[in-house]
């Protein structure tokens, strides 16, 4: 809190160098989130620039209350800006809406089964060494993450990259905290299941 207070005071007094510290600290992590929502590097950068501009204006105008946590405040702006950006550039309905829309027959985890096709990654090749095998595991995890629907990948990014707590994620996405926990748990369980189908625990433990 002290850090937020000091830095926002400096920025209010016209110190742009103070803001460049914020940019350096958050740009990578926030970019991962916008990229996950927009799926395109160029759009993600545009949206993130806009989010930083909004944060700057909020600090300068005194809209940002120093007692609130800067990171949570900023990631809320990043998320809202990316969603606005998506709505602007795409005519189709934003699939993030499905974050809190569930059909009658919908069960948590259904879409995880649909989205990832294991057949793409069953190469059947024999692995000569540990490094090749580890690389293969990383590839499987990478393609699993890429294939995840937004309602999972956005939450995972917020949790693993943006270091937000379950409560903070639930506040930003306006979802019940149980749903947030459940989605993280299910996404991870599914990943574990995929990996353990191909490799034994002992093999995985060699990479740890």
């Amino acid at each position: 809190m002290e850090y937020s207070k000091r830095i926002s005071e400096n920025i209010k007094n016209g110190d742009t160098a103070g803001f460049s510290d914020i940019v350096r600290e958050f740009s990578g992590k926030a970019f991962a989130l916008t990229l996950r929502i927009l799926g395109n590097k160029e759009d993600a950068e545009d949206s993130l620039q806009e989010a930083f501009m909004r944060l700057y204006r909020a600090i300068v105008s005194g809209q940002f209350e120093e007692r609130s946590k800067l990171s949570t405040y900023f990631y809320t702006i990043v998320y809202n800006t990316a969603v606005d950006h998506y709505k602007k550039i795409k005519a189709k309905r934003f699939s993030i809406i499905s974050i809190d829309v569930e059909g009658d027959n919908y069960e948590e985890g259904d879409d995880l089964n649909k989205s990832y096709s294991e057949s793409h990654h069953s190469t059947g090749s024999s692995y000569s060494d540990k490094a090749t095998r580890e690389n293969e595991v990383s590839k499987i995890i990478g393609s699993y993450i890429t294939s995840l629907p937004e309602q999972y990948s956005v939450i995972l990014t917020m949790f693993y990259i943006n270091d937000l707590s379950h409560e903070e994620i639930s506040n930003i996405l306006k979802l019940p905290i149980g749903t947030v926990k459940n989605r993280i748990f299910r996404a991870k369980s599914k990943l574990r299941e995929i990996i353990l189908k191909k490799y034994s625990e002992e093999e995985i433990l060699q990479y740890v």
């Binding site: 350096r24 740009s27 405040y73 595991v137 990259i161 995985i204």
Partner: protein, 161 residues
């Protein structure tokens, strides 16, 4: 019945190993998920953003200057007007005993000029510039001024929107 005896000397290695394995796979998956989700913007991103910020900052400084200038300009006009009124009142009181004084003559001329303009307006536009219409114009001006000042406070944006 034959009894089988187990002799376990190190419980912690067994139990610790069991829970440790699950934990290790967990930490491995966490690490891999983080790696897969990670992404970095282009190298010019920060530079471009800071350029935008410094331009915005310059505009903000200019706005503050213009605002101060406008405020001091309006303030000067209002203060001069008040000073002029007080001064005129003071002179009128001083000259009230004297007939045909310079100031009284000037005021008479001003009144005649207003009346002439008023008569001309009546003949051309069909309305008189009397104290009532002047008051309406004044109220309109005050309303416009208040609106232009008030919209800064009324139309505040909510965070992140």
């Amino acid at each position: 019945m034959k009894k089988i005896h187990f002799n376990i000397s190190n419980f912690s290695s067994i139990l610790g190993g069991m829970s440790g394995e699950g934990k290790n796979i967990d930490s491995y998956l966490n690490e891999q998920i983080s790696l897969s989700l990670n992404a970095m913007p282009s190298q010019t991103f920060e530079e471009e953003l800071l350029k935008r910020i410094s331009i915005e900052n310059e505009f903000r400084k200019q706005d503050v200057k213009t605002d101060k200038l406008a405020k001091s300009f309006i303030g000067t006009i209002v203060v001069s007007f008040i000073v002029l009124l007080i001064f005129a009142g003071f002179l009128l009181n001083k000259n009230s005993g004297e007939s045909g004084g310079y100031l009284v003559n000037a005021l008479d001329m001003f009144t005649v000029a207003i009346e002439t303009v008023s008569l001309q307006l009546t003949s051309i536009l069909g309305f008189t510039l009397g104290p009532q219409s002047a008051a309406i114009v004044l109220v309109l001006l005050v309303s416009i001024f208040l609106y232009s000042m008030a919209d800064k406070f009324v139309f505040r944006k909510s965070p992140g929107k």
